[in-house]
Symmetry: none
DNA sequence: CGGCGCTTACCCAGTTCTTGGTATGGGAAA
DNA sequence: TTTCCCATACCAAGAACTGGGTAAGCGCCG
């Protein structure tokens, strides 16, 4: 960011203001799509994609997906069900701020398949990108990406502005989706949560029973009811859902810095 | 955003770059605190507060708390345990982007107690503020606020820049907290990851085998080796560890690619 | 070429989980 | 007070998982 670029920066910052104003009167996803397409080019990108998902596990979750990606990529992506192994989406759970796709390797481990997938994207015309993730626990999660085609480079000076633009677009999308009300999350009783927590820590029902000083059957019953509330059939799904809901957290499970591990617990621990 | 303010805007955008550079060499919370204090004034605010907490049931105290709020407010806030009913914190669960405290009423319903609390803050010297929320599901939640004292107004032109600064500061704090493991951990093969992914989605080994078109025994073997790499003994711990590492993501699990199940299909499905 | 890692596949014994029940007592709400 | 929810506890059958092996085929790399 040197002085000679200041004109460009002023322009881009002004773009944020204009974009924000434009979104104020946006009442329809189509309008948002159009606005994103315009500013995408103005910022020095070729493509954009915005996705917003509700976190409701039960109801038909409203979803918004706007993009101008190449048709071939969209076909491959949905046809081969690549969404389930998209490294960009995975990285979104590990950053507060937007990240260039080249940095993904420092956020999450990249497998061979991941690199391959990024390469296929490149062949389809998606060379490098900048993805902005946002999460509202229990409510919604969204991403907004800006992408350049092969032969161009990410417009580094625009990235901070792109971050703001993306966040504004996601906020607009959130408003359009009508996700103002918090979806009813499955509520667990204290005892259920406690059993769940020890389960997440890798304990069997029998071990948990000893820890809590109750019968194994009771632990099984608590977990049974907890599974029913989340409408899942197995432990791993239960743990996952509860974690996503915020009922438990990684810090509860792993001995993260800050939480002092009790020597006794550590000694008993089977895992981790 | 008119042309005559462009100089100021360039300066503030430059502040972001400088701030980012400064944080790159930050190894200690004290450094971050100092940097925040400086940029806080430069942006036209009087106070700042940054809090980062791990997602955990038992998380009483934040992982990191930096601020230069008036001592009296801090005393009241902690003394009366106001964090649990802080409207600013509640609003953080409802916005993708930073919000001025005056807008809180449009994000969440404000009770009488909420207004009272804001008033007490005002009496302590915290008149109006701009709070930037960020969440990483299951991992951490953070907020960064910039506040003006009574008699001053929020520097509206600085807010977009404040948003960027806050996000950078939170990212820095996340790095300092040790909540993120660098992806140098157990890496899985693509096939192991695939089996794990279907396991996380609630499928049994037999079901996964059918989906992947391989033998049940092979799926079991993949999961067995994956468990060994993570040194855990059960599925739920495996899923949790992989999720924490970023080997799989929430988006991978909850958003099954392709078909959105209708209510009927959903009923037939075993897990969401 | 030889080793190494990945994928595939199989066996077996023991343990654990899942799913369907029932039942008692306490406490909160209607 | 009656009803509902919660925590506790138990039974039983079948499915699924865990942990211990072995091994063949393939591709990559030194």
């Amino acid at each position: 960011m040197t002085r000679d670029r200041s004109n460009g920066m002023v322009m881009t910052l002004q773009l944020v203001g204009d974009f924000s104003t434009e979104l104020d009167s946006t009442r329809d996803p189509v309008d948002l799509e159009r606005a994103l397409g315009r500013i995408c080019g103005a910022l020095g990108f070729d493509h954009f994609a915005l996705s917003l998902e509700a976190c409701a596990l039960e109801a038909a979750s409203p979803e918004l997906l706007l993009h101008n990606y190449p048709a071939e990529w969209a076909r491959i992506y949905t046809g081969f069900e690549l969404a389930g192994r998209d490294p960009v989406r995975r990285a979104c759970d590990h950053s507060f701020i937007g990240f260039a796709w080249g940095e993904i390797g420092s956020l999450i481990p990249l497998t061979r398949g991941d690199r391959q997938m990024l390469n296929i994207g490149r062949e389809c015309g998606l060379d490098d990108g900048f993805t902005v993730p946002r999460n509202l626990p229990g409510l919604a999660r969204g991403t907004c990406s800006f992408v350049v085609r092969p032969g161009r480079r990410l417009p580094a000076p625009s990235l901070p502005v792109a971050e703001l633009v993306a966040a504004l677009a996601l906020t607009c999308a959130l408003g359009l989706s009508g996700l103002v009300r918090r979806p009813a999350t499955a509520r667990l009783t204290d005892r259920q949560r406690e059993c769940l927590l020890w389960t997440a820590r890798g304990k069997t029902a029998a071990e948990t029973a000893i820890i809590l000083g109750i019968s194994t059957e009771t632990v099984i019953q608590h977990l049974k009811l907890a599974r029913e509330r989340y409408a899942v059939h197995c432990k791993q799904s239960l743990v996952l859902s509860a974690l996503f809901d915020g009922v438990i957290g990684f810090a509860d499970v792993f001995r993260l810095p800050g939480s002092r591990p009790s020597r006794r617990l550590r000694h008993q621990a089977r895992d981790g």
